[in-house]
């Protein structure tokens, strides 16, 4: 009957909620106790007034009246305090849960490897951390009150049973009725609210993408098209929300109806019993009073139950993200890179796929330490992928990659990645200061070290000219700086950590020729101390290198010096044909 409460999603969400409540035990208990106190004081209020009228006013006893009124004021003020306390601590719990979920999502997301982020758009993750987290929060905001109400319902039910067994039984029946209704509602609502959440995430994704690409949108005058896309996502939120609304409005009034029908039943049966003198009139009146008291907690419980499906749907989506197992993690090995290692690299029979697309087919090569090696291949041949494999940003399918004789899978990620430094093809800057961008991952780097790295990367000069020099914020993704300037900051970032292995993935593509020349001269000094992989197809850069690894069709086609390869490998030569002809043209 209550299948929906037994589904794995539901159970998982409930366990998650339980854990959150345990984390916020103290505040939750305070909120709940004040809710119980409040409910109790709400319930006694009419009785106090009845007593005041009967014992104070009707009897005309001034002293009694003063005492009773003071008592009522006292109860009222306590009630006021309990409202404030419940509100404050209840909200503390719920906001804390929400903030906690966000932190968890952020932490977890950082652990998930590239292959996850290639699939899941930014907006999708943002939606989980914002609107889904808020939805879960709403359930926690009413949870203390609802728990208190259930507690109250329990006490009232016992009172009713002791007052009259048959009447009490009728009233108790309302509880499974409410539960049945709730489960019926939940099983239908869960799906629909999941769809609402998905639609919301889709819109977040769409908005994030269209705004992120606003320069392209505007350059093509496609504002209308972009709005159209967002609007269709907005419409699907609207449509799914209406479905949910329709369902909700069919069920919610029933929740309200059940207690009313119960009163009706009590009235009919109680009236019958009383008229036939099976129970006394006094008993009947007292009983109806209690039944009235029951209406309100039942209504709050129903309200709470009706909020659960959307909360569970949101919780499920959050858990789905948190349950995603990070593919690339530290393993148990405690191996370390040899201290005196000079950065020898060995790829042995490495196979790698993106989804179904085979990139490397038993890729094998060796690079000696402290060498500067160019990785060459046509656009899309997997050069960048190779750069990602070395710091273990993607997991290889089979084979092994070794640095100084140690399999990279046996190294702690932290150690591996602080020894392998990668300057990406597209230089991503954070909207922090220039300094923080260079010192990424090395919070304790001194200003001097930062400047030295910037000097090498020829970034020092323009950074010094910025309004606040190294402390200037560089704006989202570094907008405001030119492509060449961004690349130089990214290069300084890569050099700063003095890695054992430096990988430059077309890292100078947007830098102008004369600066590139200067950087190259500076780099030569730095590169002497480390193994450097330069991913490029530019002859001048390649000529700088000791060696070339030429990749074609997923494996190493040839390895040797540039001139050797030009002379012996036709497909290699054709990559430079155009350059050659330009050279002669000059």
């Amino acid at each position: 009957m209550f299948k929906v409460f037994k589904t794995p999603e539901f159970k998982k969400a409930l366990n998650f909620y339980k854990a959150e409540i345990i984390d916020n035990k103290r505040n939750f208990i305070i909120a709940m106790s004040s809710a119980v106190l409040w409910c109790f004081l709400v319930v006694v209020q009419p009785y106090l007034i009845k007593i005041i009228i009967d014992d104070g006013i009707v009897t005309g006893n001034q002293r009694n009246l003063i005492i009773l009124i003071s008592f009522m004021i006292l109860a009222g003020y306590s009630r006021a305090i309990s409202i404030g306390t419940r509100r404050y601590f209840g909200m503390h719990v719920s906001y804390n849960v929400e903030a906690g979920i966000r932190n968890k999502i952020f932490t977890h997301m950082q652990k998930l490897a590239f292959n996850y982020h290639d699939k899941v758009p930014t907006g999708e993750l943002m939606a989980r951390a914002s609107s889904d987290a808020s939805q879960v929060r709403l359930a926690f905001a009413i949870a203390p009150l609802a728990t208190a109400n259930i507690f109250l319902l329990f006490i009232l039910s016992i009172t009713l049973i002791t007052l009259s067994l048959p009447l009490g039984a009728i009233v108790i029946l309302s509880i499974p009725a409410v539960l049945w209704l709730a489960s019926n509602f939940s099983s239908k609502a869960l799906d629909i609210s999941l769809k609402v959440k998905e639609a919301e995430a889709r819109m977040t994704t769409e908005v994030e993408e269209q705004l992120g690409g606003i320069r392209v949108v505007k350059a093509f005058g496609n504002e209308e098209y972009a709005s159209g896309k967002v609007e269709s996502a907005v419409s699907s939120i609207y449509d799914t929300s209406l479905d949910y609304l329709k369902l909700r409005t069919r069920f919610i009034p029933m929740f309200e109806l059940i207690p009313m029908i119960i009163t009706l039943a009590v009235l009919l049966l109680g009236g019958y019993l009383s008229i036939n003198e099976l129970i006394s009139l006094g008993e009947f009146i007292a009983f109806t009073q209690y039944v009235f008291l029951l209406l309100w907690p039942l209504r709050i419980t129903a309200w709470f139950l009706s909020e659960i499906p959307s909360s569970v749907a949101a919780g499920t989506r959050i858990l789905e993200l948190l349950d995603e197992v990070p593919l690339i993690t530290d393993n148990k090995s405690t191996k370390k890179l040899p201290i005196d290692g000079d950065g020898t690299i060995a790829f042995n029979e490495v196979n790698f796929k993106y989804g179904n697309e085979k990139i490397f087919n038993s890729l094998t090569f060796n690079i000696d330490g402290k060498k500067t090696v160019a990785i060459v291949g046509a656009t899309g041949s997997g050069k960048s992928t190779l750069a990602y494999l070395l710091p273990r940003l993607y997991e290889i399918e089979s084979g092994s990659i070794e640095i100084d004789g140690v399999n990279i899978n046996d190294l702690k990620l932290n150690e591996l990645r602080s020894n392998v430094s990668l300057a990406f093809e597209e230089s991503f800057l954070f909207s922090n200061s220039a300094r923080e961008n260079i010192a990424l991952g090395l919070g304790d780097a001194s200003q001097e070290e930062v400047e030295r790295a910037a000097l090498t990367a020829r970034a020092h000069e323009f950074i010094s000219l910025l309004p606040e020099s190294y402390e200037t914020k560089v704006g989202e993704r570094g907008y405001g700086l030119s492509g060449g300037q961004r690349q130089r900051i990214a290069l300084a970032r890569a050099i700063l950590r003095k890695p054992r292995i430096l990988i430059l993935d077309d890292a100078l593509s947007a830098v102008d020729a004369s600066t590139e020349e200067e950087i190259r001269n500076e780099l030569k000094k730095v590169m002497k101390n480390m193994t450097t992989l330069i991913i490029t197809n530019r002859a001048p850069t390649i000529e700088l290198c000791d060696e070339v690894v030429f990749i074609e069709n997923g494996s190493v086609k040839a390895q040797g010096t540039h001139t050797e390869l030009i002379d012996n490998v036709d497909s290699y030569k054709s990559l430079f044909l155009e350059n050659e002809s330009l050279d002669t043209q000059k």
């Binding site: 590239f114 690409g213 005058g221 209406l242 609304l245 009313m260 309004p467 593509s509 020729a513 197809n537």
Partner: protein, 573 residues
């Protein structure tokens, strides 16, 4: 919400006005039916059970049952129509907001982070929805109930009525204080949620760098800091409520105590009956219950108000560039682009000084210069992303400020430095400029690059991830270039757009440009000799000034700066 925001919010979506009134009406009917029930029950008890008349009881129960059925339908209908109003409102605000955002000038997006703007479209709308769903209509019902109860209290006894409302001014003052604090708190909640989302957005889109540089801990610390500020702002709002709500309860009890005390004296004097007192207390509950309901909604209202203020702060941004300009240039004019003594700054320092040049139809112009010399700024002015501070940028003889935005967008194509691709198939990215009008395969075949796409498992239907994730930067650039070429605009601007390509791919693009774009005017920002040398004329930029504009040979002969650049290239080569 101050009155201004309130009325603006109301007027923003005029089409909800009628459904709103309609749903309020139904909600009132539902409230009325709810009040009938207890009357029937008490009659059933008084006249049925007490007088041992079971038939009467049955009769009243039957009526009660009927009201229950009616209530079910009316209440459903009320909930539904109120919900519809809320959903419709939020939908319209979202549409308007995004439409407006997309019309704003580029520099707005340079000042405002994507994450913050996303928060306006998501989190702020949620707070609006909470109010719309729960609040809007119950406020009307509550106000009406309070109004009715007030009249009833006065009808019972004028003097006691005044006494019971004596404490209300205090409540008014408390509400005003609460309002000030609440507005401040909710404003900062909205402010911080924007920061949270933008920090999150950056943490996600920069996740690759963060992992490669093992910067997870400090990123998380930063995020936690911002997230905690948001939490604190939320708790500030909770604190306000935690003081305000109890105050309401205190007012209620105090009022009731005052009424009972004075009523007791009057009953003693015989000027008031116990029945009247009971009625008075009954109506006072009808007065205070909705008042508490109201204050609860008042809180939601303040929160929604802060969100709407944020929305209006965006809607109040004027899109300068899309609104100025009414003429469409006569494209027969041979003088396609002309800069006349152009000065420009992004705000801080001047980046272009007195730049003048003109470009004729069909020319291919390269702009060279060191990083930061002002090359990209010239491109942005040509794209009409900005207007010059001083001097004129003319398109076919018309100043850019007079030209319509639409004309500029439909006649100038742009290949930006970063090749931004949208999620979806490669095909959809390529036909982006004209989704309905491009016969893609035919065009690609003509250009001779159709077989380039055979590298993908699904060819042109290959899906690319967000921002083109899962294909290489070179491939992204190739696609972005083709996208601009296929747009077939009169003027095309390449902003260092071939940097990541291998020679083969670059050549096929340049060939395509030659075949497709013979009539086009191209402006190429580049620092690769191979690209530059093909241009008809070369513009040499230095520190924001134009220091040479001629062909390669002449520049090499006469222009010192160009000679320097060239010797660098030669060194490189």
């Amino acid at each position: 919400m101050n009155d201004n925001t309130f009325f603006r919010s109301y007027k923003l979506v005029p089409e909800v006005k009628r459904p709103f009134l309609y749903s309020s009406l139904i909600a009132m009917v539902a409230t009325l039916i709810r009040m009938v029930g207890p009357q029937l029950i008490s009659r059933g008890i008084d006249n049925g059970v007490l007088k041992a008349d079971y038939n009467y009881l049955l009769e009243q129960s039957f009526y009660y049952f009927i009201t229950l059925i009616a209530l079910y339908f009316v209440a459903s209908k009320a909930l539904l129509s109120i919900g519809l109003v809320g959903e419709l409102y939020v939908k319209r605000v979202r549409e308007k907001l995004f439409r407006h955002l997309s019309s704003l000038d580029i520099n707005y997006f340079e000042k405002n982070k994507t994450g913050v703007l996303v928060a306006r479209m998501t989190s702020d709308m949620q707070s609006l929805n909470e109010f719309a769903r729960e609040g809007a209509s119950s406020i009307i019902t509550a106000l009406l109930t309070i109004f009715g109860a007030t009249i009833a209290v006065f009808l019972v006894d004028v003097r006691l009525a005044f006494l019971s409302f004596l404490i209300l001014p205090l409540l008014g003052i408390a509400t005003k204080i609460f309002r000030n604090y609440a507005d401040k708190a909710y404003w900062s909640v909205r402010e911080w949620i924007g920061q949270v989302l933008s920090s999150l957005q950056e943490g996600i889109s920069g996740v690759r760098i963060i992992q490669a540089y093992s910067d997870e801990t400090s990123q998380l610390d930063n995020f936690k800091k911002v997230n905690n500020e948001h939490f604190k702002a939320n708790m500030q709002s909770a604190k306000n409520i935690a003081f305000y709500f109890p105050f309401l309860e205190i007012t209620r009890v105090t009022s009731i105590a005052i009424v009972i005390w004075f009523a007791a004296q009057r009953i003693n004097q015989g000027t008031l009956s116990v029945g009247e007192l009971v009625a008075l207390l009954f109506y006072l509950n009808y007065f205070f219950d909705p008042l508490i309901m109201l204050s609860f909604n008042y809180d939601l209202l303040r929160s929604a108000g802060s969100s709407m203020k944020k929305v209006f702060s965006i809607l109040d941004e004027e899109p300068v560039l899309s609104n100025t300009g009414i003429t469409t240039p006569d494209m027969e004019n041979n003088n396609v682009i002309e800069f006349n003594k152009v000065n420009f700054s992004y705000g801080r320092e001047r980046v272009l000084h007195d730049v003048s040049f003109s470009i004729n139809k069909g020319e291919t112009i390269a702009i060279v210069g060191e990083t930061g010399a002002g090359k990209s700024t010239i491109a942005k002015l040509i794209l009409r992303f900005y207007l010059p501070n001083e001097g004129d940028v003319n398109f076919y003889g018309e100043p850019s400020k007079d030209v319509t935005q639409k004309w500029a967008r439909k006649n100038i194509a742009y290949v930006p430095q970063e090749s931004f691709l949208f999620r979806g198939s490669i095909k959809n990215n390529l036909i982006y400029s004209n989704p309905e009008g491009i016969d893609l395969e035919k065009e690609l075949l003509e250009i001779g690059v159709l077989d380039w796409f055979e590298r993908y498992e699904n060819g042109l239907d290959q899906e690319v991830g967000e921002r083109g994730a899962n294909i290489s930067a070179g491939e992204r650039q190739f696609i972005a270039l083709l996208r601009a070429v296929l747009a077939k605009r009169e003027i095309i601007v390449f902003d260092e757009a071939t940097a990541n390509l291998d020679i083969e791919s670059e050549n096929s693009i340049l060939d395509a440009t030659d075949t497709l774009l013979a009539y086009q005017t191209s402006i190429i920002i580049a620092h690769r000799l191979e690209t530059i040398i093909n241009a008809e004329k070369i513009m040499v930029m230095h520190n924001g000034k134009l220091v040479g504009f001629d062909n390669h040979e002449n520049l090499l002969r006469n222009n010192e700066i160009y000679q320097d650049l060239f010797s660098a290239w030669k060194l490189v080569n």
